[in-house]
């Protein structure tokens, strides 16, 4: 964007057209999703069904909870590489205080959430106040969390898990699993906070231009610490819910979710550079990932090629999004 000489240099109409164009570019991920859905509907007879959509939602539910927290972090132009192992840790701690050192329910759940939130705050403090790049801090924290999980489980699987976790993970109300409801509520609360609260506005502004945010009185250090804590919380929540899904606490169960979560969020249009994106975008990204995975199952792609094909299509979708969307200029 240029700054030209004064007064009526760019007319109102020109600006409205430019804004419209920008918005259509933001819709690129939606086109990607629709294209994928179309493709799989055509190439597979089992894809397009209510039951299958239910399947897809189940498959991305845990990821959605993680995705909510990481959206907050990415919006401030930071990153959290520890979410997957913190999720595992959340589940492990809850199971630990149920099976190994039994405490009355629901205390184990609270302890689990407290632990991950504290770790998240440490992430935030190191990033915001000590100035260590979040990439490095959360990478280290990822190991810390992983190590704690290994230690608490002694490398074995814990089968005794909190009943609440069991319900949330495997139970259902009518045709809908609790899993989906929890995911839905998490996404909803995340969206409301980001879009409609002062805090949410501060999050966006911190990511868009941290210096300008400081000049407007935003305590960017607080904001960054807070989003890291939120990310820790959602990771823990995802881990607890996952307990129920798997029926057990596994020391390395959820580690693979890191790439999926960040990938899904970025795929939906949230920028890694901060200030752009949000929960609606994250939802689209999650659906893209879910549809892709599910669709590849439906058309019986060679099981050993699945990962490769997923990666290729992911890359293609990202390129499409970025190239179509253009680079965000300042």
């Amino acid at each position: 964007m240029s700054t030209r000489s004064d007064v009526h240099s760019t007319s109102n109409v020109q600006m409205k057209i430019r804004d419209l164009f920008a918005r259509s570019r933001e819709l690129a991920p939606v086109w990607t999703l629709l294209a994928l859905m179309l493709f799989f509907s055509v190439t597979s007879d089992s894809f397009l069904s209510l039951e299958n959509f239910n399947n897809i939602l189940n498959q991305i539910a845990v990821l959605s909870i993680l995705g909510t927290g990481i959206t907050f972090v990415l919006l401030t132009a930071q990153i959290d590489l520890s979410i997957a192992t913190m999720a595992t840790l959340g589940g492990v701690v809850a199971a630990f205080f149920t099976a190994t050192i039994p405490l009355p329910q629901p205390i184990p759940i609270f302890i689990a959430l407290a632990v991950v939130v504290i770790l998240g705050i440490i992430n935030g403090y190191a990033t915001a106040y000590l100035g260590i790049p979040s990439f490095m801090v959360t990478l280290a924290m990822s190991l810390i969390a992983s190590g704690l999980s290994l230690y608490l489980t002694r490398g074995r699987i814990i089968f005794d898990i909190p009943p609440i976790a069991m319900t949330l993970g495997s139970g259902r109300i009518g045709p809908i699993k609790w899993l989906i409801i929890v995911a839905g509520i998490t996404l909803l609360i995340g969206h409301l906070v980001l879009r409609y609260t002062r805090f949410g506005r501060y999050v966006y502004m911190t990511g868009a231009n941290a210096r300008a945010a400081e000049l407007a009185g935003v305590n960017t250090k607080h904001i960054i610490t807070a989003v890291m804590a939120i990310s820790g919380f959602t990771a823990g929540l995802a881990g607890i819910v996952s307990l129920g899904r798997l029926g057990s606490a596994q020391p390395t169960g959820l580690d693979s979710l890191l790439i999926d979560a960040i990938g899904a969020v970025v795929l939906g249009g949230t920028s890694l550079f901060g200030g752009v994106g949000g929960i609606p975008q994250t939802i689209i990204g999650l659906l893209i990932l879910g549809v892709l995975r599910n669709g590849l199952d439906q058309i019986s792609v060679n099981i050993y090629l699945k990962v490769f094909v997923t990666g290729v299509i992911l890359l293609a979708a990202l390129v499409f999004n970025i190239v179509f969307a253009g680079k965000k200029s300042e």
Binding site: T10, A216, V276
Partner: protein, 499 residues
Amino acid sequence: MANQTPLLELKNISKRFGGIHALKGVDFDLYPGEVHAIVGENGAGKSTLMRILAGVYRPDSGEMYWQGRPIRLQSPKEALDHGIAMIHQELSVMPVLTVAENIFLGRQPTTPTGVIDWKRMYEEADIALKSLGFTLDVRKKLEDYPLGVHQLVEIARTITSGAQVLIMDEPTSALSPKETERLLELVRELARQGHSVIYISHFLEEVMQVADRITVLRNGEKIATLPASVTSKDELISLMLGKEVDFFKQPYEGAVVVKETEPHEVVLSVRHLTKHRMFENVTFDLRRGEILGIYGLVGSGHFELGKAIFGLWEYDDGEVLLDGRPLPKGSTRESIDAGLAYVIESRKQGLFLSAPIYQNISLAHLNRITGFLLSTQNEVQVAQQAIDRVGVRPNNPHLAVGNLSGGNQQKVAIARWVVFPPKVFIASEPTRGMDVGAKEEVLKILRELSENNVGIIVISSEPETILSVAEHILVMSKGRIVADFEGVEVTKDMLLDKA
């Protein structure tokens, strides 16, 4: 010197940029072993002339001669091949590398097998530095040395790569007095060894101290070239500004000054404010409704002072009192809530260009405009009032700020602070990069604010800006307040003189 052929000669050089004549028929020559300074106001053509000498620009017309032979410099590399090197204000050293590595950047001595010969590099670096008159631990990383040393190392690098002519652009603006002395000594030493130095600086005292000849530029023309020994600072200033200058006879320190306006009460009190390597022992008072101008060159510490008072940075010593109560340091939130306002020099840093105007305006006051939940309606309403009061065009609060012209972006930055009347408004370079009309509009807004009893501080490096609004002027130089003009008639040369 008079009998030699000039090493470098420029005749009748002209250069245009669009409609602007940066240089008009300028002559310039340089002898071996000479220190030739170029002085002039901002916009006089110094940097354009420098860049032509360094091969960055090509002149539209005129001739260049090197050792009597005509040449055309098509690129900086060609200039370097002739031995003409430029030392910029922003140095090009690598602090993470050692002194020796910096001196031999890109030209490291190698063994026959092609590997860097560290021993030889350290030895030769040592010799190079000693020949210039100073000693350093060449194995130490440059970042462990202060900025003044970085500059010396860059000069050493340039000389050892074979430069005969050094062009130095504002070399002392970031140096302490001691480092400045050391640099001036080095410049004279380089001249004694036969190198030629073209020295560009605002600091006329230094120029008088170090130069053999001084060329004065004004509005793209060469006004005069004089031997330093026959001229004076006063004469240089009058040549730079183009008129006879009448200096006040009365001294400025300790003089009794009659104020023209009725004194209001003090709203902001700055006491002994110090931030290491930026500014030192700054003390002044600001009254309600007063417009205080703080003038200084880039690097004088005045911009940094503004940021420290507002709380963007912490200061190391001293205090700031607002209406008699101490203002917490290092918190922009507390400053804003207490009634301070601040507009930064760079619009890119101060605004959210991709966000709508109303968000840029409301962000500073969200805690007062809305509750826990946002109310876009409230925000837009409040923003619209501010937009209309300040005169942002177009006045649609939903437009992205990046789409506005520079002048209007600046108005948005100011509009943020008319939502709730501030007690003190600090404007840092408020009219940078704006055309005359927009400049006037912004200054008018500041005057109106002062009429509403807001205390205004305008921090600027442009004398015209300060002189068109300020009633009370402080001049900062190298981190300290060096002059305080109040109730007297101040002219541009007086400011330049003190800076």
